[in-house]
Amino acid sequence: MNIQEATYTYTVRLGDNALILGHRLSELCSKGPILEEDLALTNISLDMIGRTQALLKYAADIEMLGKTEDDLAYRRPENHYHNFLMTEQPNGDFAHTIARQLYISVFEFLFYSELEKSKDATLAAIASKTIKEIKYHMQHAVDWTLRLGDGTPESHKRMQKAVNDLWMYTGEFFEMDNLDTFLLHQHISVDVVPLKAEWNKYIKTALNDATLNMPEDTFMQTGSKKGIHTENLGHILSEMQYLQRAYPDAKW
């Protein structure tokens, strides 16, 4: 493993998280529960796609094979994708969308705050840029968690179910593989293990404020760093990559 190859993979992993969640949120365009939420979810989606562009462009630059960010987004098969399983989970009802946003945005807030200190200047610059947007996403998710959890009996029940259902996909956030550790020694990657306690604290506060219970510990799903996914990713890619597969090299 050399630094260049490892940084490429590391950057692709981060880009994939933003791309797949961005795509999931874009599915809600014109389907938001209210007009303001339609705007909010698609704005967050747009931030994610912007972050994807920055990260995958950088990955393509590191790879030096003359590819673009679009090549990486549209021409990789499922098992070359490294997004967290959480990001590919269906939007479900609004409670599931919000629970997914809560878990991910709190993690991203902690993660990108650390990545700002990376010795890799480009990753650090993208982190500084994106962290401002993440704070806004996090505030949105925490607000809605409160509103749904401490809302009507129906919204409370659904929000509790959503945080329980998605809990098993949160373990992956805090895994380190050989590549992460290798880059940590180069002061490029983030040590995610210590972030877990702080993440738990934020989530616990948000759920408590919303009169919701912390989910019970369960078996944690894993696999994305090895390219193993839930069945959802294939469906996402078949839609997202349709045009580029049907009309390779199409330009407009």
């Binding site: 303001e36 705007l39 909010a40 747009l46 840029k129 947007e133 949105h140």
Partner: protein
């Protein structure tokens, strides 16, 4: 050397007046999008930075920079995008904030506004100057705006979010 420096100033002056595609009353210089003009290895390098990572106007701004310079006979132009230092609404000049307000957009307060959970931000209605305003939606018509309403004049308006 002297000639080159003069040309850098000329290039800067030609492009600094380009209006923002989404808020045409202020320029890319007012907003702080235009960061730098340099002359390197025989070409003019114009550095711009996006307001938000996914700002859809960046491509258009790049095209406009090239168009203006090309039509003034300056063809050796490269436009570069930078993320660092990170754009902030603190770079928006006082004059530009007045222009925003006159256009009907409440200008951003001065930083450091980017704290977590700063929902008690005071927003003044750009139409009637009332402080009696209320947030409708954190997200508005573009990434950089939020939607507010005034409880006195009853008008809705955009807030240019502090960033």
């Amino acid at each position: 050397m002297v000639i080159e420096n003069q040309n850098i100033e000329k290039v800067y002056n030609l492009i600094s007046g380009i209006p923002d595609p989404e808020i045409p009353v202020i320029t890319i210089q007012d907003l702080g999008i235009l960061r730098d003009v340099k002359f390197l290895n025989g070409e003019y390098v114009v550095t711009i930075t996006p307001t938000y990572t996914a700002c859809p106007a960046m491509g258009m701004i790049e095209d406009q920079i090239k168009e203006i310079l090309f039509s003034n006979g300056i063809k050796n132009v490269k436009v570069e995008l930078t993320y660092s230092p990170t754009w902030t609404t603190d770079w928006i000049s006082q004059e530009a904030k007045v222009k925003l307000k006159n256009y009907g957009i409440a200008p951003p307060n001065h930083s450091s506004c980017n704290k977590l959970f700063n929902s008690v931000e005071m927003v003044v209605c750009p139409r009637c100057n009332s402080k009696h305003t209320e947030l409708i939606s954190r997200f508005g018509s573009t990434a950089c705006k939020a939607l507010y309403k005034c409880n006195d004049c009853k008008e809705t308006f955009d807030l240019f979010k502090c960033h």
